[in-house]
């Protein structure tokens, strides 16, 4: 059960990328929805780096609701995963069953990263499957 629960969208300003943040106990999930590419990468990087400072437990980068992701999203995860290993933190990525999973599978990354499933209690817009 969560001791402190917070769930809010950080960038509901019409951006192509919407970042949500969910804090539950010491775990933090950064959810990305929309399009993650070179143009929106900085926005996602800032959110992940802020979450790294806050998460005392597991940090999850949730890509499962992205409509589009290019190699920028992979770079984001690889760098965050490397920082977590270096600093002794726990980090996982949520891919869902759509396009993000296909990208990570094609790159041979599914057995290199900790992958977590989409949470059944996530809001519908965060669990939408990719075309």
């Amino acid at each position: 059960m969560s001791e402190a629960f917070e769930d809010r969208e950080l960038d509901a300003d019409g951006s192509r990328l919407v970042v949500s943040r969910r804090a539950e106990g010491g775990d933090v999930t950064i959810g990305l929805r929309g399009e993650l590419d070179l143009a929106t990468l900085g926005q996602a990087e800032r959110a992940v780096q802020e979450a790294e400072q806050e998460a005392s437990g597991l940090l999850v980068v949730d890509l499962s609701a992205l409509d589009f992701m290019d190699s920028s999203g992979v770079r984001l995860v690889l760098i965050a995963d490397d920082r977590a290993r270096t600093e002794g933190r726990r980090m996982a990525v949520c891919l869902g069953e759509g396009a993000p999973r296909r990208v990570f599978a094609m790159l041979g990354l599914l057995d290199k990263l900790q992958i977590v499933p989409v949470r059944p209690d996530d809001p519908p817009d965060a669990t939408a499957q990719q075309p």
């Binding site: 290019d70 992979v74 770079r75 760098i79 094609m106 790159l107 041979g108």
Partner: protein, 257 residues
Amino acid sequence: MRPWRWTTRLYEQQRTVAEVLQRALLPETSPDAPGLLLAARYRPHSVDLADITVGGDLVEGAVHGSWAVTIGDVCGKGAPAAALTAMIRHTVRAEVRHGHGPCDVVRRLNTAMLRDAGIALARFATVVHAHVTADPTGADVSVVNAGHLPPFVLRGDRIDSVEAPGSLLGVYPDISLTQVDLRLDGGDALVLYTDGITEARDMAQQLYPEGRLRDVLSSCAGRPADAIAGAVLADVTAFDSCRSHDDIAIVVVQAAT
């Protein structure tokens, strides 16, 4: 000198650098390869900057009559990405000429990338690398794919995807690779391409569908390699009205009829 003249000079310098780099990173247009037809197309996302992130290469192997074909895509933009693209090209050339097989060439490339820069910069790349040996009736091909889009084989109007799962390069020392061996009969073509094609967008911001690429290739049945590469680039360019942000490279290797 007036500011605009400085601007013009800077623009010209950038354009010159871009053109020199592009010439250095692209395959020769028509190397003499008996028994094979080779073709390539490249479209940078910008002609003004030295901002090259894809490359292709065709190089003669250590064994007479064998050729190595490579297409690659690096993560990143700007001069560092162009430098990595160049490093990949020259490393592959050297390893091929040392006589290594496709898997060894790609593993050695991965080692070179890790030695050159670690994960801290997340400089990763995806590559398809194939060795092709022509004979009087076709060509034997060995394909290795390090995290890149699967190549296609065009046999008449039939399109087969070459599935050879493998890891991206430049991040992990322990990569997994799968070598797939296949046969090209006379007229069959191996088509390598970068995701600048599948990430091209039309006016409605829709992505270029893989099915459309298959249709274009299928319509090229019976045509030579150069016409196949040209048809793909022409169709993507017509679709990509927004001039998408990624470079496009296409390499076609065809067994002569």
